[in-house]
């Protein structure tokens, strides 16, 4: 299927809303009470919602940062090394 550009309203949706909207469209189509023109529009929107959902799931990359507090109280982050067992490797010396 050719990629469909995501409508702005869909791009702003969080995963849960997008999935709910997609399931709603599926029920409508399966219910059989949709008019032909509406069905085509609903189908296209369904495809876009599905792509949006997949993008949201794809975005999920394991990334762990430690919050650091500067002398002036400003916050920063340092990337934490995760060991194979899930334990944190390097922890800055000032954090204990």
């Amino acid at each position: 299927m050719t990629p469909v550009s995501v409508a702005p309203d869909i791009a702003a949706m969080d995963f849960e809303d997008a999935l709910a909207a997609l399931e709603d469209i599926v029920r409508q189509l399966e219910g059989g009470k949709v008019r032909l023109e509406e069905a085509v529009g609903a189908y296209e929107r369904g495809v876009r919602l599905k792509q949006h959902c997949e993008a949201k799931l794809r975005e999920a990359k394991a990334k762990v940062d430690l919050i650091t507090t500067g002398a002036d109280g400003s916050l920063g982050t340092v990337s934490a090394n995760i060991g194979a067992d899930g334990s944190l490797g390097t922890v800055p010396a000032n954090i204990k």
Binding site: D14, F15, E16, L19, L22, E23, I25, V26, L29, E30, G32, V34, L36, A39, Y43, G46, V47, K50, C53, E54, K56, L57, E59, A60, K61, A62, K63, V64, D65, L66, I67, L75, G76, T77, A80, I82, D85, G86, S87, L88, V91, I95, K96
Partner: protein
Amino acid sequence: MVADITHNLPEYSVSELSLALKRTVEDAFGNVRVRGEISGFKRHGSGHCYLRLKDDQAVLDAVIWKGVASRLTVKPEEGLEVIVTGRITTYPGRSSYQIIIESMTVAGVGALLKLLEDRRRKLAAEGLFEVSRKRKLPFLPEVIGVITSPTGAVIRDILHRLSDRCPRHVLIWPVAVQGEDAAGQIAAAIAGFNRLTPGGRVPRPDLLIVARGGGSLEDLWAFNEEVVVRAAAASVIPLISAVGHETDTTLIDFAADLRAPTPTAAAELAVPVRLDLMARVSECEGRLRGGMIRRLEDWGRRVDGLRRGLPEPGRLQEAAALRLDDRAERMANAMAVLLERRNAEMLRQFTALPGPREYLAKIGYQYAQAVTRLGYAMTSLSTARTTRYDTATKQLRPQALLGEIDRSGRELGHMAERFLMAGRRVVDAREDRLDRFAELLASYSYEAVLNRGYSVVWAADGRVIESAKGAEDGSRWAVEFKDGKVRVAVDTGPPPKPRPRSRKQSADQGDLF
């Protein structure tokens, strides 16, 4: 010296006595263990702590020096029943005695629980634990803030479970989870995450997890601290508490939006299983396509059904074709009949026409007559005028009339001239018309038809033969072609067979082989 006799006791100064008392008390109570309820706890700017221990009948002042205070495992709380060890000392300057606390333990779990319950009631009365304050957790958080110790099994369990279920961006705010500083750090971390602005340098989490592994009631005490509970209740970011084991309950659990029995469970509550979601999305995709295909099939069947209700277009066309053929045939026949009829009519009119020579002779005759009549008219007119002139000359004196006569004579001459000219014009016009008519006639003449390849059959008596009827064997007819007439004898026998093709050609072709 009565006084000297009656007062034979040695005399102390106040200082001497106070010192003697101090020595006695410290010797006797150099190491005591005492149970009491904390009251009036106060931390001085110097770091030393002052409090009183009391029971239902007595009060004992107590001091915790700075060095000891930082090592205490129990955070002194108002109303908390504790057992302390230490030594009794006196303060001569105030005439008071007090206990210098070396260590402190809670006087049994019951005491701590009682304190906890009192605090829970108080905070509940403020509405911090109201169900209406609970926020819904995001279904799929993008960034998760975890407030816990950066070392140890807890953070490892959380990260492990998160990456199993649904890898997310995790921000760890490292804090001490027990000891005197723990509560302040935890509260600051909760507030700190809430102060982050979305889209800032440090991303703002949309879910917080406050976690600690299992431990004694005292170990978990930081999570019962009012400052922590208030921070959790005030957090705008939804918060999951995961402190201790399943049976441990701390006050932060009441203020949290959701309580997880363990840190691992917190990770499970925080995110859905990514694979499940992907399965749900692809299931939706399949159902979306299936639904659409079924819709299209339904509509297709409905169109089919409607089409069956319509007459077959082929049949309609066949009927129309039949009708068209019928009409075309009838029209062709009608055309032929019409042409035939027109042809016959034309021939009839044609034969009824007089010959052009006769017509010309007739016109010529009429012309000659007209000229003759004109001559007569001129003569008679002239005669009449002459007569009238003669009469006039007889009646009138000639000299009077001479001018008139002369004038009339001239007029007469003019008139005669004009009359002759008019007559000539009339004759000329007639001649022109005659010429045109003759041309027209020639174009209509049967001879022109002959020129187009037709022929006329004449009977011996000069009639035109219009029909095969009346054809008898031996009748003698004349057939007129454009270039002359041929006399023919009628033979009513069957028409002659077409002559067989000459064999000469094939003989010629034989030469090719």
